[in-house]
């Protein structure tokens, strides 16, 4: 019985053991990897993508997914940039951030409304949004936007403190706050309870008096807002708004959430696991940089590591079933 409990604990928190294993592996290849400075920068490089992983996780838990997270990030940042540079120069930065959040919420509502009310397939709807909003970015701006206010870049780039060879950025704190907020939302509020219920069994949710449509619209609004915050951090990280912002990150975003233990079929997943998944993405990113792998190899290696991690995690579900059924 005790052995079983330990086994269950390990499988339940498998992502953290995968993280530790990878840290060990990279340390063997490059001892410098284990330094404090490096560990803390892992928590910095993944921040922009981390917000998108979080957005995706909420959607997956509700039994849906959102392919447009990257497009929302890019489009909202582009509008903020064009607003400041062309439409209304001199607009104060808090207004710019507010505009971004509203755009994120708006696109989220747009996605959620069609998916919930008209039963449009989430894949098609959000794929459509992905294409539409990356397309609109090109129409609205078409080129990289520089020279936005310093404060606008601050959330993604402001250095809070330097100590013991490591640098702590505001972005890391932002992500952790977001993780805690989403965790509280999912586990401590009735909206969170409803999101899990809708993801687990929408038909039963309806019979339990849950307004499934409204819940889904909320889910996509939350996803949109988180994606827009992600866009703000992408912009800060590179000190500009590029037209290809987050464009190649979609697969990693999916992978981060799934490796973090969020079920693709809905109703299952916790934010602590998602955090572990986000960190995994950071470990791989930093690890591949530090072992000085040729650029041509990076993408492929990234893919191999991710696919193995996803495989391990899929077997996890089966192991849990097996362990729990074994009395």
């Amino acid at each position: 019985m005790n052995k079983k409990k330990i086994e269950l604990f390990i499988v339940d928190n498998l992502i953290w053991f995968i993280d530790l294993g990878l840290i060990a592996a990279f340390t063997i290849l490059q001892p410098r990897f284990l330094s404090f400075g490096n560990m803390i920068s892992i928590l910095f490089v993944v921040v922009p993508m981390g917000f998108l992983v979080l957005a995706m996780a909420v959607c997956l838990i509700s039994g849906n997914f959102d392919l447009s997270v990257g497009a929302i990030a890019g489009f909202s940042a582009t509008i903020a940039g064009v607003w400041y540079l062309r439409w209304m120069p001199g607009t104060p930065w808090p207004v710019l951030i507010l505009i971004m959040l509203l755009i994120g919420a708006g696109i989220g509502f747009f996605n959620g409304f069609f998916i919930a009310k008209f039963k449009v397939n989430a894949f098609l709807q959000t794929l459509g949004s992905y294409i539409l909003f990356y397309g609109l970015m090109l129409i609205v701006s078409g080129k990289t936007l520089f020279d936005l206010p310093k404060e606008f870049y601050a959330p993604g780039s402001h250095l809070l403190a330097s100590f013991a060879g490591g640098k702590l950025y505001l972005a890391t704190i932002d992500l952790i706050i977001a993780l805690i907020a989403v965790h509280l939302l999912l586990t401590r509020t009735s909206l969170g309870r409803r999101i899990y219920a809708v993801g687990s069994n929408p038909k039963a949710a309806r019979e339990c008096g849950i307004d499934v449509e409204k819940t889904l619209i909320y889910v996509f609004i939350i996803s949109g807002i988180l994606s827009a915050i992600g866009g703000l951090h992408y912009a800060g990280y590179v000190q500009c708004v590029t037209m290809s912002m987050a464009r190649n990150d979609l697969f990693f975003v999916f992978a981060g959430a799934v490796i973090g233990g969020v079920s693709l079929s809905g109703g299952k997943g916790k934010i602590s696991g998602v955090f572990g998944g986000i960190i995994l993405l950071g470990i791989i990113e930093m690890g591949l940089t530090l072992i000085l792998l040729p650029a041509t190899w990076r993408e492929a290696i990234f893919g191999v590591v991710l696919i193995s991690a996803i495989l391990v995690n899929t077997t996890r579900e089966k192991i849990i079933m097996h362990l729990k059924a074994r009395d």
């Binding site: 687990s200 069994n201 039963a204 949710a205 309806r206 019979e207 008096g209 729990k324 059924a325």
Partner: protein
């Protein structure tokens, strides 16, 4: 069929045990089937019939026991294994490829219709299909796509496809006649008799006792995972068979439970006034405070739809529904729950959140009760207190609140679903077939829960396809036939015969 001893035994299952987590589905059953025999396999839902068939077809492997086919011990690990031995299974829900034609659906089973390196011989496919359709007494165009067919045509199509498929020897038919008219049934019987002469053997699963005597040579009765009767039909009477299926113990439990409660007559809680929609025709009745109203009807009678209509899951086209004097037709379930109506659906898979913890499943309908601080945050402490209270009252066996509902036994899953209505403080409980597929002990407990609810002044509307249960648990019984009310009977005066008469008749004089 004269010298049965000399007939070849072609299928024999010896001492089959099948254990699932938390449930023993088969407790060591023996089963034999002879060449050219039609053997009825009957028993209530959850008795183990389908488990046995799944084991023979290779969908499940037995925990213990051996299977012998054509005199040899066999290990059947997959459907492919059982099919190569001549076993075919026809289910009551025709699994056909809707977008393909009738001929293509038939040809799907036949390997030799391919020519050379797997090129399809279309002429042969259509000829073959035409021939089989004619043999099955069906009038169908082999080139029509399957989705155009009616349910009964699909059922017969599936039947002829399997019966005439190459190498078929043993056929298991699972309630294949439920969707058929009397005339279609006769055609199916003729087909079975015809194939029997050719040495085919049939396992015939049915819930209708009459059918067993119409078509089966012998019958095996399962109850709670055991074989309780195995006999030739000519030596049986319908009464004997029914007793074997239901068992005596249950009846005793039922009569005891019923005697505890005194009947109450009081205010009308729910009134339906000529409610009409897609599935219901002019349904009118009312129920009292503290009453248990049974709803009985055969498949397709509209029992489930009646409850769903009251609960706002199906629209009302015409007519009125009054709950405590208030109009509630076409109201959203969330509002009805807060007014005090609770609903437990027929199918646990439909009603439960399988991959969520037990406690969440219980409190999900009543989240408002546990909200505190800013009206946003839930108090998990309060939620778990409620869960513990419900676990105690309903005697739910759970290792802990965090266990996913998936890992509970059927009876406990069912109680979790009832517990959800409790937690929401309902006054009117709509229970749809809540005792289906759970064992006798759990059933008795659920009856007691229902009785107690009623004695506390709540109203219960309880549908069931188990006559015994309906008669013994309820105060009055409403019978439905194709969406119409055919009668309301006082349970004390009800007999199975009377119920069947009402449930099968179109017109009933009041």
């Amino acid at each position: 069929m004269k010298n049965e001893e000399n007939d070849k035994i072609i299928l024999e299952a010896k001492n089959i045990v099948k254990k699932y987590p938390g449930v023993i589905a088969l407790k060591g059953v023996d089963f034999t089937l002879r060449e050219g025999e039609v053997r009825g396999l009957v028993g209530k839902n959850g008795a183990g019939k389908s488990t046995l068939i799944k084991i023979i077809s290779g969908l499940e492997t037995p925990t213990e026991g051996d299977l012998f086919l054509f005199g040899k011990k066999r290990k059947i690990r997959s459907v492919h294994d059982s099919e190569s031995l001549g076993f075919r299974f026809v289910s009551q829900e025709p699994a056909l490829m809707e977008d393909l034609t009738v001929a293509e659906n038939i040809a799907f089973r036949e390997q030799e219709l391919k020519r050379g390196i797997g090129v399809v011989d279309w002429n042969k496919i259509y000829e073959d299909a035409k021939e089989k359709i004619a043999l099955g007494g069906l009038e169908l165009d082999p080139e029509v796509e399957v989705w155009h067919l009616s349910i009964s045509e699909k059922q017969i199509l599936l039947l002829i496809r399997e019966i005439f498929s190459q190498g078929a020897k043993i056929l298991a038919l699972d309630e294949v006649t439920t969707s058929l008219t009397d005339e279609e049934k006769r055609k199916v019987y003729d087909l079975i008799r015809n194939r029997k002469e050719n040495g085919h053997s049939f396992i015939y699963v049915s819930h209708e006792i009459g059918e067993i005597f119409d078509i089966c040579d012998s019958v095996t009765v399962f109850r709670d995972g055991n074989v309780v009767l195995s006999e030739k039909t000519e030596n049986l009477t319908p009464e004997k068979l029914r007793d074997a299926i239901c068992g005596k113990e249950l009846e005793k439990e039922l009569t005891e439970a019923a005697s505890i409660r005194k009947k109450q007559e009081g205010e009308k809680i729910l009134i339906l006034d000529s409610v009409t929609n897609k599935k219901l025709k002019n349904v009118s009745f009312d129920t009292f405070k503290g009453e248990i109203l049974g709803v009985y009807g055969l498949r397709g009678s509209g029992k489930t739809e009646l409850l769903k209509t009251i609960f706002g899951l199906m629209p009302v086209d015409e007519g009125k529904i009054l709950f405590k004097g208030e109009n509630i037709e076409n109201t959203d379930p969330s509002l009805l729950i807060s007014k005090g109506i609770g609903f437990a659906p027929e199918d646990r898979v439909e009603g439960l959140f399988y991959n969520r913890p037990a406690w969440e499943n219980v409190v999900i309908s009543s989240l408002k009760k546990y909200t505190e601080r800013l009206g946003i945050f839930l108090s998990e402490k309060k939620e778990k207190e409620e869960f513990r209270k419900i676990v105690d009252t309903l005697n739910i066996i759970v290792p802990g609140p965090e266990i996913d509902v998936l890992y509970l036994s059927g009876g406990n899953q069912q109680k979790v679903m009832l517990g959800r209505c409790f937690a929401a403080d309902s006054n009117l409980y709509l229970f749809d077939e809540v005792t289906r597929g759970i064992d006798v002990g759990a059933k008795a407990e659920i009856y007691r829960i229902i009785e107690r609810l009623a004695s506390e002044g709540n109203t219960i509307i309880f549908t069931s396809s188990d006559m015994e249960e309906v008669i013994n648990v309820t105060d009055r019984i409403l019978t439905l036939y194709q969406g119409r009310v055919t009668g309301i009977i006082n349970s004390e005066k009800a007999t199975k015969r009377l119920l069947l008469e009402y449930a099968e008749k179109n017109e009933v004089k009041k």
